[in-house]
Subunit: 238 residues, 2 copies
DNA sequence: ACGAAAAACTTGGCATGCCATAATATTTAT
DNA sequence: ATAAATATTATGGCATGCCAAGTTTTTCGT
């Protein structure tokens, strides 16, 4: 076992988590401003904290050039993400907490549950691989498998696939979807694409419980789809 | 709804909780030193914090004379105690966490669960009145009923009753008891009392699953018993 | 392609919450 | 009445945040 836990506050964990997700969006080192925006802090505060995280060995910080997690930092991030997603599923599954509220609750619980409790929850849920929003849960060994997905707004007319995932961060969206009975795991087919960045007409479900919805805007960007094998991922086209 | 939550940190909640339990032990205002001891802090730190709690309107502080909770302070304490005991029961019941570990876990969770989650847990457990150690759980309206009990070491030969409660704070004790299959709810009868503050010989359970144990020391003081109606509570005797 | 304006980042000074130690004040007990 | 016990008040430290001032990098207009 490595020497863990030297000064692991909620703040430190939140920084690691935020850096981790920003990092996995772009491969580039993470810049101060987007990080501050994501954490809801001022760039000044973030700059100061990055110095501390550097001293703690959790990040590599080239001043003015951005920041990358070290192996240690990545461990911290993955551990917290595992906590978060297990908790979301647990709250939804075992306590019937509504879909759109589990995120806020997990956001604070993730920093305080013990390894013991983490294990009990994971066991109770049968060591699950996905949380209620379709986000993959890192394994106990902190391995994370991100399935390949496309945002819904990149599909074209005739495309079919499975709606597998949606960001957990916006309760409004989640409430909107669940009010319409749309949740990850459902099949979907694109019937029509309005041009000019307009909405898509999408059919959800199969058989009798089929429903059609026009989906566009930020929502169509947040919903992610696993495309049917018949269709190849698209490169540059126009 | 009253104006809640002005500066309610874990530290503030812990102080209220500690003052509450010390207060209910003795009716006297709570002194700084015992409070510091209970919280594991230095008296100096406690003194400073008491000033803040006074300004927050949670306590009445007569310098050098001790401290009492205000109505607001009592609410804070009871809310946290409700969280704590609900969590203990939930962890034990729904997640099969061992008896002697639920306390430590609840100690940190109690400060971060939302009202929503509190309600879901209470509902799931059927609005219980006692936690796994036999401590009464304050109602949603924050009423607390402490049943009358006697510490085991005050019983006399021939006394019978029900073992109803034991402090949750000492995992060693809890492990000791559960290893021997003794838990709150069991009937007991005192077969013999050794004089000079020695142990009692006690029979637990009835019928075939009956077991005898010699119990003394701090353990006999921590285990609390509901005496059979036939026996009157004892006043001054010798 | 160069220099100035804009954007991005860091630094410094300050605040708050909470704890510690050491020095001081008050109460109590002999 | 004084020593011992108890409580309080400095003073300082650490983590974390803010704002304002200063630095570095990027962008853009010519």
């Amino acid at each position: 076992m490595a020497t863990r836990d030297t000064t692991r506050s909620p703040a430190v964990e939140d920084y690691c988590k935020a850096i981790f997700t920003l990092e996995s969006r772009s491969e580039e080192p993470v810049a101060t401003n987007p990080l501050a925006a994501r954490l809801g802090l001022t760039p000044g505060s973030v700059s100061a904290m990055l110095k501390r995280l550097g001293e703690l060995g959790l990040i590599e910080h080239l001043p003015y050039r951005g920041v990358r997690l070290t192996a240690d930092g990545r461990m911290v991030a993955l551990e917290v993400i595992r906590h978060h997603r297990l908790l979301e599923l647990f709250l939804a599954e075992s306590l019937e907490m509504p879909w759109d509220r589990v995120h806020a609750e997990a956001e604070v619980l993730e920093h305080v549950i013990s390894e013991d409790l983490e294990q009990l929850i994971a066991a109770k849920l049968g060591d699950p691989s996905f949380d209620p929003h379709g986000d993959p849960i890192p394994s106990a060994e902190l391995e994370l498998h991100e399935p390949e997905t496309l945002p819904l707004d990149r599909l074209q007319q005739g495309d079919g696939g499975v709606f597998v995932r949606v960001s957990d961060a916006d309760p409004e969206m989640l409430r909107y979807l669940s009010e319409r009975g749309i949740s990850p795991g459902e099949r979907l087919a694109v019937l029509e694409c309005q041009p000019f960045g307009g909405p898509l007409l999408v059919a959800f479900g199969d058989g009798e419980r089929r429903s059609k919805h026009a989906i566009g805007g930020r929502l169509a960007g947040a919903m992610r789809v696993q495309l049917d094998a018949s269709r190849l991922p698209r490169g540059a086209s126009a």
